[in-house]
């Protein structure tokens, strides 16, 4: 925390020094934010991680290859076979366009980086941006010291690292930056009342809408704050300028994004903003009339308007309510509803509930993800109330709502993290202020001549003076003052000065010297602990790319690269138009890495289709074969962890397949797969379980590995050990058996009495050679 330089003999120089210092601190924070996310590249390799990033990567590849127009019109026929997917209209394009632009820019400067490299490093770059945006936001709220602290905290908060390590090329990577930056511009507009910032704010909001579905958080939080300001009597023209243009411009811009479109005005997520928009206009009108009428006239007018206005309002509200109520989900999307009612998803939409990141978090995960910030947040909230300004009330509202949301879904911990960082930054910086001031005040050597050499690098000049807190405040706002010469900034500064609401706290906050020294040490220790934890989290917990697994054992490091082995095999040794069926988790990776058509993927937009695959997996072999054959599937891919003990395999996900399948096709009943309510695959398992396709494909010839068929994930011997496949052929199994690929047997084996078709059962390559002249499937 660079203390703000005080106005003293050579103010210009000191400001320059201060701003240069904070510039370099910010630069270092940016570098730090970038480099702490490189553990994944150093420990593993420069590769795209997990599932969704692979889709984004593929879209980016398409964008860079075919250009923006083709991208908007892209109908992807390699997924959701035979439905396909309109990518341009169903994808949040922000991330893709960002990375595409970076790639294009670099290439036009003749820096030939591959699309993959750009994608891998987009997230770390944007986390540096996010740290800087946090600095700006917090500076608007509580001054530069708090800003720097918050930026430093955000640069390494584990929750954010988990989504933005190099390679984690996901929407959230840029969305968090967009979120913070939008909030910053809102606060900035609120503090300055400048229409310029209001416009920028709308554009930043547009970027956020482009980037992530979480933009609804913004469009609900800002109206809430505006409403809060109005209710608490803080209405001002600045608030109007900050709010009204955002709603108008922001909604118009948001409607331009294909994936949002008319949702921007038609779904309930956006309703609050319009309601508050009306309210703020009523308030503004009242304000205006109040100013132009005499008090008496005003009273008359109020009675008149209120009676008429109320009637109209009721009518409008009634119509709206009727409209909203007419839709079964009240106009809310499933994900939003599960936010408002945490039990909603598990009751009605198993597909949302089946995703682990949609589960509520546990307490340890709070500690893991935001660490000591969890304890600093309350202090920050208190600091925000001393004094409460428009800006600080906003961050308080932000933290309160995000704490709630993070409690509903683990994934939204990400929204909480910046708020927690801002709050903790404020808390730490205030604490530092108090302690250093106490020390300064009590050190005789310093207080004696503090007037002359006031403040070089630390909060100072606060001698035995009563309005210490206030002076401090001013210092903070002044700190960023640029040198006189810059007239443009001068104007800005003028606004900045307006911003902080005056502190009326005139108490002297002085603690005993020893206590403050100890407290300072403890705070530094706390910070050090946080840093250690964050580095550990970045290095150990969040850097694994999840497509490459490693394990340490007594004889060194083992690498499990089975997924890519299987995808590479598919990509090189199957026909280009073959369809691969797997559970939807592996859809994105299969299309991106193996370049094969899949039936379902991670964009779970069609529940029925997923249920069909789920049903096939939970059906006996013959029925499954018929389902797959009707979908023109050539290969079935299952993930099996029983040999090496990889826990997130298909057998463990199997109950979700049953549930989702059973949700659409009632002949699949979950209890059939459970013995006394317990999910088991050992000899106690139900016959339905032991005969379903997933079981068979996973455990085919598994018994021959060790003679007992001991499953290392479930820690038990499997129930049915010896069986033959009648409708599927094993065509590939990876080195550690983690991915097994089966080929559907051609239908001729099942039709007796018909003449044999010659040679339709060839190896994969023969079929690829004969791709052009494939015989028609008799089942169609």
């Amino acid at each position: 925390m660079a203390g703000p330089p005080e106005q003293a003999p050579a103010p210009g120089l000191r400001y320059a020094f201060g701003s240069v210092l904070s510039f370099f601190i910010l630069l270092l924070i940016g570098v730090f934010a970038f480099s702490i996310r490189l553990f994944s590249v150093i420990k593993y390799e420069s590769v795209i991680h997990e599932f969704d990033p692979y889709f984004n990567y593929r879209v980016t590849q398409f964008l860079t290859k075919n250009g923006i127009y083709d991208f908007w019109n892209w109908f992807d026929d390699r997924t959701w076979y035979p439905l396909g997917r309109v990518i341009g209209g169903t994808v949040y394009p922000g991330l893709t366009l960002t990375a595409g632009t970076i790639w294009w820019l670099l290439n036009s400067l003749n820096i030939p980086l591959s699309v993959e490299t750009v994608c891998v490093f987009t997230a770390p770059i944007f986390s540096a941006f996010a740290a800087w945006a946090t600095y700006l936001l917090t500076k608007e709220v509580k001054g530069a010291g708090a800003g720097l602290t918050a930026a430093a905290l955000l640069a390494m908060v584990p929750s954010y690292i988990s989504r933005s390590v190099a390679g984690s090329y996901d929407n959230e990577a840029v969305a968090i930056f967009a979120l913070i930056f939008t909030f910053y511009l809102y606060i900035k507009t609120l503090n300055t009342g400048s229409l310029f910032y209001a416009t920028l704010n709308a554009i930043a909001y547009f970027y956020m809408v482009c980037s992530w579905g979480g933009y609804t958080f913004i469009i609900n939080l800002i109206p809430m704050h505006a409403l809060l300001c109005i209710v608490t009597g803080r209405y001002s023209s600045r608030l109007y300028v900050a709010y009204a243009p955002l709603v108008v411009l922001g909604t118009l811009l948001a409607a331009l994004v294909p994936v949002v479109g008319f949702n921007a005005v038609m779904t309930s997520e956006h309703f609050a903003s319009f309601l508050v928009f009306i309210i703020i206009h009523v308030v503004a009108l009242v304000d205006y009339i109040k100013g132009s009428l005499s008090p008496k006239m005003f009273k008359v007018a109020v009675t008149l308007v209120v009676s008429v206005g109320l009637a109209v309002c009721f009518a409008v509200v009634a119509v709206l309510v009727a409209l909203v109520a007419s839709s079964p989900t009240m106009g809310w999307s499933g994900r939003s509803l599960s936010l408002l009612d945490p039990t909603y998803a598990s009751k009605y939409i198993p597909i949302i509930a089946s995703v682990s990141e949609h589960q509520p978090p546990t307490w340890p995960s709070y500690f893991m993800d935001i660490n000591v910030l969890a304890f600093l947040v309350p202090a920050g909230i208190i600091a925000c109330f001393l004094p409460l300004s428009d800006a600080s009330s906003f961050v308080v509202l932000y933290i309160v709502t995000s704490v709630y949301f993070s409690g509903v879904m683990v994934r939204l911990m990400l929204v909480l993290a910046p708020a927690a960082c801002i709050m903790s930054g404020i808390a730490l910086s205030e604490a530092f202020d108090v302690f250093t001031r106490s020390i300064k005040f009590q050190l005789p050597g310093l207080s004696g001549n503090s007037e002359v050499n006031a403040g070089d690098g630390s909060s100072s000049t606060v001698v035995a003076q009563n309005d210490a807190a206030k002076t401090d405040k001013r210092e903070d706002t002044l700190k960023d003052r640029p040198s006189r010469k810059n007239k443009k900034k001068e104007k800005e500064k003028e606004h900045v000065e307006k911003a902080p609401v005056k502190s009326k706290v005139k108490r002297l906050l002085v603690l005993p010297l020893e206590a403050s020294v100890v407290a300072l040490l403890l705070i530094v220790l706390l910070g050090a602990f946080y840093v250690v934890h964050c580095v550990w989290a970045a290095a150990e917990a969040y850097s694994a790319p999840s497509i490459v697994l490693t394990s340490h054992s007594h004889d060194g490091l083992h690498v499990f690269d089975d997924f890519r082995e299987a995808y590479a095999w598919l990509s090189h040794n199957t026909d280009v138009d073959d369809k691969v069926a797997s559970w939807w988790d592996y859809g994105y990776q299969t299309t991106a890495m193996a370049n094969r058509t899949v039936i379902v993927d991670n964009n779970t937009w069609n529940n029925t289709h997923i249920a069909t695959v789920g049903t096939a997996m939970s059906s006996p072999e013959k029925a499954a074969w018929e389902i797959f054959n009707s979908l023109d599937v050539k290969y079935v891919l299952v993930v099996f962890g029983g040999l090496v003990g990889y826990p997130s395999d298909d057998i463990n996900k199997f109950l979700w397949m049953v549930r989702i399948g059973g949700g659409v096709f009632p002949h699949i009943k979950e209890p059939d797969y459970l013995r006394d309510g317990q999910y088991r695959i050992d000899s106690q398992a139900t016959p339905t379980m032991l005969n379903c396709l997933m079981y068979k494909l996973s455990y085919y010839r598994f018994v021959e590995t060790d003679g007992k068929a001991f499953d290392r994930v479930r820690r038990t011997e499997i129930g049915k050990k010896y069986f033959k496949l009648t409708h599927f052929d094993e065509v590939f199994t990876t080195h550690h058996w983690m991915v097994r690929i089966y080929k559907l047997r051609p239908p001729k084996n099942r039709i007796r009495g018909k003449t044999k078709k010659p040679k339709s059962k060839g190896s994969s390559t023969t079929s690829s050679k004969r791709g052009g002249t494939r015989k028609k499937n008799p089942w169609h």
Binding site: Q7, P11, E45, V47, L109, N110, I111, P112, E451, T461, V463, A464, Q465, D467, K470, R474, R484, K485, N486, K487, E490, E494, E497, K498, K502, I547, V548, V559, D561, R564, E565, Y567, A568, W569, H572, N573, M593, R701, E704, T705, D729, E730, V731, F732, T733, T734, H735, W737, K761, G762, S763, S764, T765, T766
Partner: protein
């Protein structure tokens, strides 16, 4: 075993064709090496000129199915008995199209070094290397089957000349031999089959034989290999090799069971190969092995001073007909490969793939020279298709010249050095750093200019002037504020001195403080005057001036009261009156002081807000 001796009928009808010249082959020894997928036929020929004319060329004949798979052909004159295997003695060979010769045969003419005079005898060593000459039979096998290969050739040496004495030996891999054609004088000795000797055979005699044998050698065929050799004069040669590999043996059919493969890899998967060895030049560094979806972790690297050995495993074991694609890259020190001669630089580097025993159907070598290279020429020991390209790489302006060499059917014998000559000015190396430096320089200059320049469009517009005036006013007000703050600080000091006094009773110190404060305040008021008069005169300040005035007045009052209080207290202490007295006297003053202080603060806040 259905052999198709498709050449037989044609050839027999051709036996009567006239002999080209009067050469006679007095002895022919052929050795066919079938131990790998590449068929190497070494022939030692003793040529005798029985005619009267000196002969300067010698014809080699290959049947069509061999000729189209002929990858490499070299012949060397063997003077006397001493074995000379020097590449310099290799004789120029070219394909010739002879009229009146059977069309199913391809001919290559070897130019003899100095013409063979009458009665002279010359010994020639001919090495012919063929790819794809072994046919898998059966063509499709399951994982458990062994891979059987079929080789067809003639037991007699096919030549347009008469052959006096000849023999053939076929070397097979150490494994089962399913079948071989038995003709006269056939002997089998371990894994070697011997045919002959045969004596006095006319020209174009042909005796088809077939050998069917087990071969589990890696049939690694690169359907395409693109080698990119990029030269950086900063001291590095970067080689990137993109392989598209296929197992060229018998196609695999049916299931692939990992279980069987893991349990008994030599039986269930005998035909598959799982690793390849690349012999890189010594001092190779920055070696990587990846494919389009990332790094492939199954590789090993050993290096010593003689060579660097890279063992790579494809992601999955390669069964017959399976394909894979990967990229190997490595850096080499420039000085090992870059030389200079006659004012030109040349790169001297090997042509083919560093991987042993890979047949490359289509090899493309791209030599990327540094930007600014001119006069590019290539010298290679064999015929190549050449073309020029441009590649735009890091920070290039015009792009780097790329010399592209293409060759089909490449075998390890082609791993010879070739040279790329070009001219390059060392100063061009500095182009990119200079560009970067100047780029940043101009960026900073632009920043400086931007912050210093006044970018207002119209300097005389009213709003601009107003803004300028307003800026001045603001500066003035800020200064006033500063001054007031300083005053307040002085006040605080005085208060502090009073507190000290009450604690220590040191009147002198207090007085001294008072004196210094007086001096300071006087200075301050001096500074204040011009500012105030400026504000008074300035038009835009009209609105704010009263407040400033008020502020200054209040501050003056505060100052005065404080002075009074200070002197009262000091007086009291000098008179040694009791603490309570002092308090009593000061109390009213103190009240007013706090009130005033409050007002001043409020005013400051107010001015702040404007």
């Amino acid at each position: 075993m259905g052999f198709r001796f498709y050449l037989l009928a044609i050839l027999i009808s051709l036996l009567s064709t006239s002999v080209l010249s009067d050469l006679i082959l007095s002895k022919v020894d052929r050795r066919i090496d079938l131990t790998s997928q590449i068929v190497r036929i070494t022939t030692a020929i003793k040529v005798e000129n029985t005619g009267s004319e000196p002969v300067s060329e010698f014809l080699l004949a290959f049947p069509e199915h061999q000729a189209k798979n002929l990858a490499y052909l070299t012949s060397a004159a063997n003077e006397g008995k001493g074995k000379v295997k020097d590449s310099t003695s290799s004789l120029p060979i070219e394909a010739v199209d002879l009229n009146g010769m059977p069309p199913a045969l391809s001919f290559y003419s070897v130019s003899l070094p100095k013409g063979l005079a009458k009665g002279e005898i010359l010994t020639l060593d001919v090495l012919a290397v063929f790819t794809h000459l072994l046919r898998p039979f059966p063509e499709k096998i399951t994982q458990a089957d062994i891979q059987l290969m079929l080789f067809e050739d003639s037991a007699h040496y096919l030549s347009p000349y008469e052959v006096k004495v000849q023999s053939l030996s076929v070397k097979l891999p150490d494994a089962r031999i399913e079948f071989y054609t038995k003709v006269d004088n056939t002997k089998i000795h371990g894994s070697e089959i011997k045919y002959g000797p045969y004596e006095d055979l006319p020209s174009f005699s042909y005796l088809p034989i077939g050998i069917h044998f087990e071969s589990n050698q890696p049939f690694a065929v690169a359907s395409e290999l693109v080698r990119e050799i990029e030269i950086s004069h900063w001291g590095n040669v970067m080689v990137t090799e993109h392989y598209k590999l296929i197992h060229g043996g018998a196609q695999s059919k049916g299931e692939f069971s990992r279980l069987d493969y893991q349990a008994r890899p030599n039986i269930r998967g005998a035909s598959a190969f799982r690793r390849l060895v690349a012999k890189l030049p010594p001092r190779a560094h920055s070696v990587y092995y990846r494919d389009e979806i990332g790094n492939i972790s199954t590789s090993n690297l050993w290096s010593d001073s003689k060579k660097t050995e890279l063992v790579i495993e494809p992601r999955y074991p390669m069964f017959g007909g399976w394909r894979t694609a990967f990229t190997i890259g490595y850096g080499l020190p420039l000085q090992d490969f870059m030389f200079e001669s006659e004012g030109k630089r040349f790169l001297n580097i090997s042509f083919g793939s560093p991987i042993n025993d890979v047949v490359i159907d289509n090899l493309i070598v791209k030599v990327v020279l540094p930007e600014g290279s001119t006069d590019i020429s290539v010298s290679a020991p064999f015929l190549l298709k050449q073309r020029q390209e441009t590649k735009i790489s890091h920070l290039d302006l015009v792009g780097r010249p790329v010399h592209v060499l293409e060759k089909t059917n490449v075998v390890p014998e082609h791993n010879q050095y070739f040279q790329v000559y070009y001219k390059f000015n060392k100063l061009s190396m500095l182009r990119e750093p200079l560009m970067l430096i100047s780029g940043f320089f101009f960026l900073f200059v632009a920043c400086i200019v931007y912050t210093h320049a006044d970018l207002t469009i119209s300097k005389s517009s009213a709003s601009y002037l107003a803004k300028q005036q307003w800026d001045e006013v603001q500066t003035a007000i800020e200064q006033v504020q500063n001054i007031i703050h300083r005053c307040l600080a002085v006040h605080d000091k005085l208060e502090a001195s009073l507190r000290d006094l009450s604690r220590t009773g040191d009147v002198q110190a207090c007085k001294a403080a008072r004196k210094s404060a007086d001096v300071l305040l006087k200075e301050v008021s001096k500074e204040l005057k011009p500012l105030l008069s400026f504000l008074q005169s300035s038009l835009p300040a009209a609105q704010i001036y009263p407040k400033v005035e008020e502020l200054v007045a209040k501050e003056k009052e505060l100052q005065a009261r404080l002075m009074v209080k200070h002197s009262t207290v000091v007086d009291c202490y000098e008179k040694k009156s009791g603490g309570r007295d002092v308090e009593k006297k000061v109390a009213p003053q103190q009240l007013k002081l706090t009130a005033l202080r409050q007002e001043v603060d409020d005013l400051l806040d107010f001015i702040d807000e404007i």
